[in-house]
C-alpha cells in the first residue's frame, strides 16, 4: 500500500514520521508534494526517505491512500487540480478542519462518479504516536476503506469512527487540545521557575506530570474527579492549589476554549460552503505556484474567488 500527502507541512510531516516510526509503512512508500519547497518540514520529509515532489498529480498517481494535508482554504484548489487524476481505487482522506465530506464529494464527482472520501480529524501528537484521530466515511467509502484508514491511524495513536457531525466538536477538544496543553505546560513551568526550579527541569517535570496523569486516567476505570480526590490530602498543598484554580474559573475557561474552537470551525466551514474565499487568505506565492500548475484556473485578483464554478480545461 502506498500513501500520498498533498501538502508537506506540519500535518504531513507528523503523520509520515508516525507511520514510519510505527513500522506500518516504509518511507519510500510515502510521497508528499507541495509547490513550496521552502517549508522547513520539506527537508525533514526528505531526510526521512519520503519521496518529495512539487507535483500534486504525481502524488495522486503513486498513491492508494491520498491524504489532503493542506489548510482548509486550499482544499478547493487542490480538488480542482488533482480531480481529473482521482480514480475509483483512491481513498481520499481529508484532514482539513471544517471541510465537509459532501463538499469534497461534490467537487470530485465532476471528475469521478464514485469517489471514496473519508474525513478525518487528527492531531499533531501523531508524530510521537500518541495522536487522537476520528474519522467519518463518505458515501462511496466502504467499511473496509474505513478500517484501512483506522489501521493506519491506530498505528500512531487512538483512532475511532464517528458520525460526521461530531467532528467539529472533536476539533475543539483534541484537534486544538495539544495547544491548550502546551499553554498549560508553559505556565506550569513558569510556576516552577518562580518557586526556584531551573527552566529545563520545570518543563520536564511539568510535562511528565501531565503525561502521567493522562496515562492514569486512560488506564483507570475511575472518574477524573475521583482521581483528583485521591491526590488531595485533607488540608494539604494540592487542595490549596486547586482552590486557586477554581477561583480563577479554570474549568469554565477550558469549556470556553473547546466551545470557541468548535464554533470557529463551523464558521470556517460555513464560509467555505458559501464558496467565497479571499485570495488574501492564501499566501500569494502559493497561489501563484498553483496558477502555474493549472493555467486554466483564473483568479480575479482583488475580488472574491468562486472556485466551484470555474472548471479547468482538460488538455
Amino acid at each position: 500500500m502506498s500513501v500520498g500527502f498533498i501538502g508537506a507541512g506540519q500535518l504531513a510531516f507528523a503523520l509520515a514520521r508516525g507511520f514510519t516510526a510505527a513500522g506500518v509503512l516504509a518511507a519510500h512508500k510515502i510521497t508528499a508534494s507541495s509547490p513550496d519547497t521552502d517549508l522547513p518540514t520539506v527537508s525533514g520529509l526528505r531526510k526521512m526517505g519520503v519521496n518529495f515532489t512539487v507535483s500534486n498529480k504525481d502524488t495522486v498517481k503513486s498513491s492508494d491512500v491520498l491524504f489532503l494535508a493542506v489548510k482548509p482554504p486550499i482544499i478547493p484548489f487542490i480538488l480542482e487540480e488533482v480531480g481529473p487524476d482521482i480514480e475509483a481505487r483512491h481513498i481520499v482522506v481529508s484532514c482539513a478542519a471544517g471541510v465537509t465530506i459532501s463538499s469534497i464529494e461534490k467537487k470530485l464527482s465532476t471528475f469521478c462518479p464514485t469517489p471514496k472520501v473519508i474525513r478525518c480529524m487528527t492531531n499533531t501528537p501523531v508524530i510521537v504516536r500518541e495522536g487522537a484521530t476520528v474519522y467519518a466515511t463518505g458515501t462511496h467509502a466502504d467499511v473496509e476503506d474505513g478500517k484501512l484508514l483506522e489501521q493506519l491511524m491506530a498505528s500512531v495513536g487512538f483512532c475511532t469512527e464517528v458520525e460526521e457531525d461530531l467532528i467539529d466538536a472533536v476539533t475543539g477538544l483534541s484537534g486544538s487540545g495539544p495547544a491548550y496543553a502546551f499553554t498549560a505546560l508553559d505556565a506550569l513551568a513558569d510556576g516552577g521557575v518562580k518557586m526556584g526550579l531551573p527552566r529545563r527541569l520545570a518543563v520536564r517535570l511539568g510535562a511528565q506530570a501531565l503525561l502521567g496523569a493522562a496515562k492514569m486516567l486512560l488506564e483507570s476505570e475511575q472518574h477524573p474527579g475521583q482521581l483528583k480526590d485521591n491526590v488531595c490530602s485533607p488540608g494539604g498543598a494540592t487542595i490549596h492549589a486547586l482552590h486557586f484554580l477554581e477561583s480563577g474559573g479554570f474549568r469554565s475557561l477550558l469549556i470556553n476554549a473547546v466551545e470557541a474552537s468548535c464554533i470557529r470551525t463551523r464558521e470556517l466551514q460555513h464560509l467555505a460552503d458559501q464558496e467565497k474565499i479571499s485570495p488574501a487568505a492564501i499566501k500569494k506565492t502559493l497561489l501563484d505556484k498553483v496558477k502555474l500548475e493549472s493555467p486554466s484556473l483564473s483568479v480575479a485578483s482583488g475580488s472574491k474567488v468562486s472556485l466551484f464554478t470555474n472548471k479547468s480545461k482538460k488538455n
Binding site: 472518574h223 475521583q226 482552590h243 477554581e246 477561583s247 474559573g249 474549568r251 469554565s252
Partner: protein, 244 residues
C-alpha cells in the same frame, strides 16, 4: 423512640422554652442541679458565654457515673475538662439543624475519660437523629463550616433555583417545592449509590443537552471556588470564636 419522654428532664432559668418540652412529654425544672442529680447522661446546651457559670454551678454534683455531653459551640474539651471534676466523662458534639427532622449530620469527640462504651452509647442514641460519626476534635470546626452552616448554603441555593424557575415563568410555591425535592433526591442518590458526585453529575449530562449548558454557566461563575470559600470562612470563624 430511643428514650421515653418521661425519662428526659430539661432545665432552663425561665419558662420561655420549657412549654415545648412539656408538650413532648418531658419533665422540666428551673434547677440545673436537679437535672444532674436525676440523670446519667447530661447534655449541655447553653449559649457559650453562659456555660462557664453553669459548669461552676453543677460541678459539685457531677460524679464518675455521669456522662457529660456538650453541644456548646466553640467550647473545647480541654475547657470542659478544666471546669469539671477530673474524673468526669466528657464528650463534645456538633449537630446541625436537620436533626429536628431526623436527617441531621453530627460529629462528636471524646474527652480523656470517655471510653468506647460512652462513645457507643452516644452514637447509638444520636443515630436516631441522622448521621453520627466520631471524629478527632480538630474536625469539629470544619464540620461547622461544612454542615452546621452548610444547611444555610443549601437554603440559599434552593432559593436561587426557585428564583430561576420563577423568572422562566413557574409559580413560586411550586418552584420552591420542586427545588427542595430536587436537592433531597440528589442527596439521596449520593448517599445511597456511594458514587462520586462527579460521576453522578456526568450521568445527567447528555452531550449537547440542557444540563451541560447550565453547568457551564455555574463554572463560569466559579461556583465551586465560592463554595470552598464559604466553608473556609465559616470554619475559620468557628476557630476564632473558640479562641475568644
Amino acid at each position: 423512640g430511643k428514650v421515653p419522654a418521661s425519662n428526659i428532664l430539661a432545665s432552663a432559668p425561665s419558662d420561655k422554652n420549657l412549654a415545648a418540652w412539656r408538650e413532648l412529654g418531658c419533665r422540666t425544672t428551673h434547677c440545673n442541679l436537679e437535672v444532674v442529680h436525676g440523670s446519667t447522661l447530661v447534655f449541655l446546651a447553653t449559649k457559650p458565654h453562659i456555660l462557664p457559670g453553669v459548669l461552676e454551678e453543677i460541678r459539685p454534683a457531677v460524679g464518675s457515673h455521669h456522662i457529660v455531653v456538650s453541644l456548646v459551640a466553640g467550647i473545647t474539651i480541654q475547657t470542659l475538662q478544666r471546669l469539671l471534676p477530673p474524673w468526669t466523662k466528657v464528650l463534645r458534639i456538633m449537630p446541625n439543624l436537620p436533626c429536628v427532622v431526623q436527617a441531621g449530620a453530627m460529629v462528636f469527640s471524646r474527652g480523656s475519660n470517655a471510653g468506647d462504651e460512652e462513645a457507643a452509647l452516644l452514637k447509638s442514641l444520636l443515630s436516631s437523629c441522622g448521621l453520627c460519626e466520631e471524629v478527632p476534635e480538630s474536625y469539629i470546626d470544619i464540620h461547622t463550616g461544612l454542615s452546621g452552616s452548610g444547611v444555610a448554603y443549601v437554603y440559599l441555593f434552593a432559593e436561587a433555583l426557585a428564583e430561576g424557575a420563577v423568572k422562566m415563568g413557574m409559580p413560586g410555591a411550586l418552584a420552591s417545592r420542586i427545588a427542595a425535592q430536587t436537592l433531597l433526591g440528589a442527596a439521596k442518590m449520593l448517599l445511597e449509590t456511594g458514587e462520586h458526585p462527579a460521576k453522578l453529575r456526568g450521568d445527567v449530562c447528555t452531550p449537547g443537552g440542557t444540563t451541560i449548558y447550565a453547568l457551564h454557566q455555574l463554572e463560569k461563575g466559579a461556583l465551586r471556588a465560592t463554595v470552598m470559600d464559604a466553608v473556609e470562612a465559616a470554619t475559620n470563624r468557628a476557630c476564632d470564636m473558640a479562641k475568644d
